[in-house]
């Protein structure tokens, strides 16, 4: 039985005036999967999520979601249009673009109002979602006064209020303090446990095991360089070096200067993902 939600066949895309952003991308995402899209900056991760959410449309190839081809005409009309919008939630990297209503309550109400639900239903969902994320106190606040972590929570809440089955996340932990990061990861874990399909775009190798079971690695040539389980990808130092996800530069530790492949994480410590070294 085919339980793939998304199916991409040889998808290519380029921004007008710029070169190719994605080249011959083919893969499918199954229901309940935790998929990561891994790649250095500029390799087209964000673009891919936009394509999967029906905000951009492929120039070459095709994208099928829930068995239907994603095209502007199909997304404009019921029943597929509203259904798709409800089922798929996209968490933007820029929370300021995602929170465009004057207050948190109105922000959460936006999606349900588009779905033409009754006022009681809308209010009930808003209350429940605020409770779920523990942000009832933010209900009447204005978005520009919130901290980065609070903004992320409100943004996520505004998606969850529609009870989607798929979440597309664009660098969800970028710019968040450690506690907020932790909260977010726990929440995503919980949602996944309840059957949510997660597709996360990131370049953070440290977070990868917490976010995904399967990884699509994008190279700087805008193609898929690898597609496999997280552990296997993280072990392949040669691959990671080739696609510019880890580097080797001269640095100090243990009182000696040396160089070997590694990646820096937020706390400025070192985590040796792979490779040996000698003092």
């Amino acid at each position: 039985m085919d339980d793939s939600i998304f199916r991409l066949e040889k998808v290519s895309f380029s921004y007008p005036g710029h070169g190719l952003s994605l080249r011959d991308v083919s893969f499918s995402a199954r229901r309940g999967e935790r998929l990561a899209i891994l790649g250095a900056n500029g390799t087209g991760k964000s673009t891919l999520l936009h394509l999967m959410d029906g905000l951009y449309f492929a120039h070459g190839g095709s994208i099928t979601a829930f068995g239907e081809l994603l095209s502007p005409e199909r997304l404009e009309r019921p029943p597929f249009g509203p259904r798709f919008r409800r089922e798929v939630g996209f968490l933007f990297q820029n929370s300021d673009a995602q929170l465009f209503c004057p207050s948190v309550e109105e922000e959460l109400a936006f999606g349900p109002l588009q779905m033409d639900w009754t006022k009681q239903e809308v209010l009930r969902r808003i209350s429940d979602t605020l409770d779920l994320l523990g942000i009832q106190s933010l209900r009447d606040r204005q978005p520009h006064n919130l901290s980065a972590g609070e903004k992320k929570k409100v943004a996520l809440a505004s998606l969850l209020v529609l009870s989607p089955s798929v979440l597309l996340l664009d660098e969800p932990t970028a710019g968040l303090d450690p506690r907020s990061q932790g909260n977010l990861l726990e929440l995503l874990d919980e949602l996944h446990g309840r059957g949510m399909t997660l597709v996360t775009a990131t370049h953070d190798l440290e977070l990868l095991p917490h976010l995904a079971d399967r990884v699509l690695v994008f190279g700087e040539d805008h193609r898929i360089a690898a597609d496999g389980p997280t552990a296997a990808v993280l072990d392949d130092a040669e691959l990671l070096l080739r696609v510019n996800l880890i580097h080797a530069h001269r640095h100090w530790h243990g009182g000696v200067a040396h160089s070997h492949p590694h990646q820096h994480i937020v706390t400025h410590g070192h985590d040796h993902i792979a490779g040996e070294h000698e003092h």
Binding site: H50, D53, L55, E76, G81, P82, R85, R86, V88, G89, F90, F92, N94, D96, A97, Q98, F100, C101, P102, S103, E106, A109, F110, G111, L113, Q114, M115, D116, K119, V122, Q142, P143, H144, N145, S158, L159, L162
Partner: protein, 305 residues
């Protein structure tokens, strides 16, 4: 990466520093920044959320109706006493209603002073004819271009009356305008407008504008700071103007980019072009009481006029 060039030696500068520093441009830039931040503070600042007065807690429609009614009456009446009364009514409402009076007072600094400056010449016999009260100087008649000069320059009784009425009216109107602005948060007031029949699309655009205004002001501040941190003042007006224009241009680019992203965010959550908002709250006793009180005040003002 290659080796550092020999002139890039830290701590030792071979080339001389500029001796002259045109003071004007430096303080100009800082002043521009200050004003932007000032305006931002008013919009983003505590303001309404701080005040717990009963006026701010009324339904927005009641506030808008009542205060607008009083404002319209103030533009209609003609007696100086009536206008004085109206002015006092505005401030009385502010004080007993628990509104942020300091914020209101700030609004009085600009327009009324300007009106006074404008009204002063109106008191002269050059502008308003009438019985002279106080002769300032003699002009001796004659002509100057297409204009005829009178015998003397004086302040007339009608002139004083007109100037006073003009200034008082401006003061009273501005007070009511400031009262309305201070009586609710931006989205509260917009919701009130919506409830009174203003098209939903307009309210949505205005609401989103208010939401993003602070972001744009921060962007403007950042752009300004970036220029400031690299300027030593004294580059001349031409270049300063170029920088101001570049700042505005950069702001526009960011605005366009943001607008595209917001459109995507809206579409992603099901937006198909129709504006949908939640239905307004009901009127409660206090709101009706307030509107009735304002109506009574309006009648009173019209009566004593």
């Amino acid at each position: 990466m290659g080796p550092l060039p020999d002139w890039m030696v830290i701590g030792r500068s071979e080339l001389p520093l500029p001796l002259q520093q045109r003071r004007g441009a430096w303080s100009l830039a800082r002043k521009g920044l200050g004003e932007i931040i000032g305006k931002a503070a008013i919009l983003l600042g505590p303001g309404v959320n701080d005040s717990h007065g009963w006026l701010t807690r009324l339904d927005a429609r009641a506030k808008v109706l009542g205060i607008l009614g009083l404002l319209l009456t103030t533009t209609w009446v003609r007696g100086i006493l009536t206008l004085l009364f109206s002015l006092c009514a505005a401030w009385a409402l502010a004080l007993i209603g628990g509104v942020n009076v300091r914020r209101m007072a700030l609004a009085l600094l600009a327009v009324p002073l300007f009106t006074l400056a404008l009204a002063a010449p109106a008191a002269l016999n050059l502008v308003t004819e009438g019985t002279p009260l106080w002769i300032l100087c003699h002009l001796g008649g004659g002509t100057w271009g297409p204009w005829h000069l009178p015998e003397y320059l004086a302040i007339t009784d009608r002139g004083v009356f007109v100037a006073m009425r003009f200034t008082l009216r401006s003061l009273a109107c501005v007070s009511f305008g400031a009262l309305l602005a201070a009586s609710g948060s931006p989205q509260d007031l917009l919701r009130g407008l919506r409830g009174l029949g203003v098209p939903a699309a307009f309210v949505m655009v205005a609401g989103m504008m208010a939401r993003y205004l602070s972001l744009l002001l921060e962007s403007a501040e950042q752009i300004h700071l970036a220029k400031l941190s690299r300027s030593i003042g004294g580059v001349g007006v031409r270049l300063e103007q170029g920088w101001a224009a570049a700042g505005i241009g950069e702001l526009y680019r960011r605005s366009r980019r943001l607008a595209e992203e917001v459109t995507e965010a809206m579409v992603s959550r099901g937006y198909t072009g129709e504006t949908r908002t939640m239905a307004a709250q009901r009127w409660c006793g206090r709101d009706i009481l307030f509107v009735s009180a304002c109506a009574a005040l309006v009648t009173f003002l019209l009566g004593i006029d």
